[in-house]
């Protein structure tokens, strides 16, 4: 009897030291977004609109979206998102995608004028902690040649207690599964910047601060 109890106890101990699974709640609402920023299409000029679909974990997928113009006499647009300015005025460009029973959509008011005006995209946001570790500040993102620059401003402060503190660009604020690792964090106060090549301003919805070794989300900035 004693040996059975001992065997059972050791078995429980042995089995409880196995690697198991932790689950993170990473479901988000899927979305479709117009990612090209334009204010005005020049009359008789063409412009290629682009959209991005993110699934329910924030992963980008290729889908066949539908494009439409609220005033086809001002802006005509084909099924591939190629638009043409036809007459002076404005029109709402809409992209839609039907996912099961849900219609996802995004729209943009676009003018038709003498010449095409592309909007320079910048984002200003606030960095906030989502943990009890210190993390605060403000930031801006601006486009540079073939990439973006993340400028963390002078009011930034972060805890120095965490090991392996990393910065990610992600489309899911709860997960780094499909995120872009920007850099290991080595600056814990004051202004500094990161250059991220081959990324556009609207490509990611969140900046995520993450302790990689212990899988702790520390904070975030919302970018859209």
């Amino acid at each position: 009897m004693k040996s059975k109890v001992l065997f059972l106890s050791l078995s429980v101990l042995f089995l409880s030291s196995c690697i198991k699974d932790d689950f993170i709640d990473d479901m988000i609402d899927s979305e479709i977004t117009i990612i090209t920023a334009i204010d005005t299409i020049g009359i008789d000029s063409e412009f290629q609109f682009q959209s991005r679909y993110l699934n329910n974990i924030g992963q980008e997928e290729k889908v066949i979206a539908e494009w439409s113009s609220s005033d086809e006499e001002v802006i005509a647009i084909d099924s591939n998102g190629l638009a043409k300015g036809l007459s002076i005025g404005s029109s709402i460009i809409k992209v839609t995608y039907e996912e099961e029973d849900t219609l996802l959509q995004d729209s943009l008011l676009v003018q038709v004028g003498a010449e095409t005006v592309i909007v320079e995209q910048t984002v200003n946001s606030t960095i906030v902690t989502t943990s009890s570790y210190l993390l605060e500040g403000t930031m801006e993102i601006r486009e540079i040649d073939q990439g973006i620059e993340l400028n963390i401003l002078d009011d930034y402060k972060a805890s120095t207690a965490l090991p392996g503190f990393y910065l990610y660009l992600s489309n899911n604020r709860n997960s780094i599964a499909n995120a872009l690792e920007v850099s290991k964090i080595t600056v814990f106060s004051g202004a500094h910047s990161y250059t991220v090549p081959n990324v556009a301003v609207g490509d990611y919805n969140f900046l995520v601060y993450y302790c990689k070794p212990f899988n702790i989300k520390v904070g975030e900035a919302v970018l859209n």
């Binding site: 106890s9 101990l13 409880s16 030291s17 196995c18 690697i19 198991k20 699974d21 932790d22 689950f23 993170i24 709640d25 990473d26 479901m27 329910n56 974990i57 943990s131 009890s132 570790y133 210190l134 805890s159 120095t160 207690a161 965490l162 090991p163 392996g164 503190f165 997960s175 780094i176 599964a177 290991k184 964090i185 080595t186 814990f188 990689k212 070794p213 212990f214 899988n215 702790i216």
Partner: protein, 288 residues
Amino acid sequence: MKKIIFSIAILFAFNVTLQAGGPWAKGKGKAYIKLSEWWTVFDQHYTDVGLLDPNVTTGIYNTALYLEYGLTDKVTTIINGALFSRNYMNNVKSRTTQENIIDGEALNSIGDIDLGVKYSFNKNSKVPISLSVILGLPTGTIGGGTQGNLQTGDGEFNQLVQLDFGSGFQLGQSASYFSGYVGVNNRTQGYSEEFRYGIEFGLGLIQNKLWVSGKLNAVESFKNGDTAETVTSTSIFANNSEFVSLALEASYYVTKNIGISASVASAVRGEIIAAAPAYSIGLFMDIK
């Protein structure tokens, strides 16, 4: 390259203090040997401001040997080491897709070993006092796993100087004792130095076959260790941990010399330390 370890090093401290033998000298030729399994599994930790935050579930299992041997009536040698140590972290999975986001990993090896000498100033006094010097040898492994975050030791050589005091007395029909200690732990490799203290109360029951004790152990960091800001190694971990823990232990003498023990300890306050109970079960031989 400096490697500074996060929370687990301090958990080994739980283990050490749970098994400390108080101010009493063992006596020449006498010994106490204990083989135990010690473990904790935690999915949250105390942050640098003492609040609780979640982390990936992490487990540490130590098969430990503790030995006290009386070289003379006043000098007792102490060995405390993890013969086998396992540190693991769970897989991180998406609840939506059930796919692995981060694979779990484990590290198995020998753990750290402490070697110590305890000198009793007044063995037969009503209030015995002893001084211990304990050397923490970094025999465990650090920097395991893809992220270098698995460890079976703290990676540093430390020297603990500790003063123990106590007194035995009758409480009704039961033998009982009170003891306490204060100590300073000098650590290397960029770790913070520590002030340690604790108190313990024990009660003998069933003709002293069963001993039950309650303990408070504390580590207060001098907060002079390296941080992520001052060390740029790719595998650094935070430092400057501290805690106050409460523990309960029961030891039962099955025969005159052999017994079994069980204990549970948990931090009630802490900074940069696991927030979960640590358990231990053991088999001991008390050669009187």
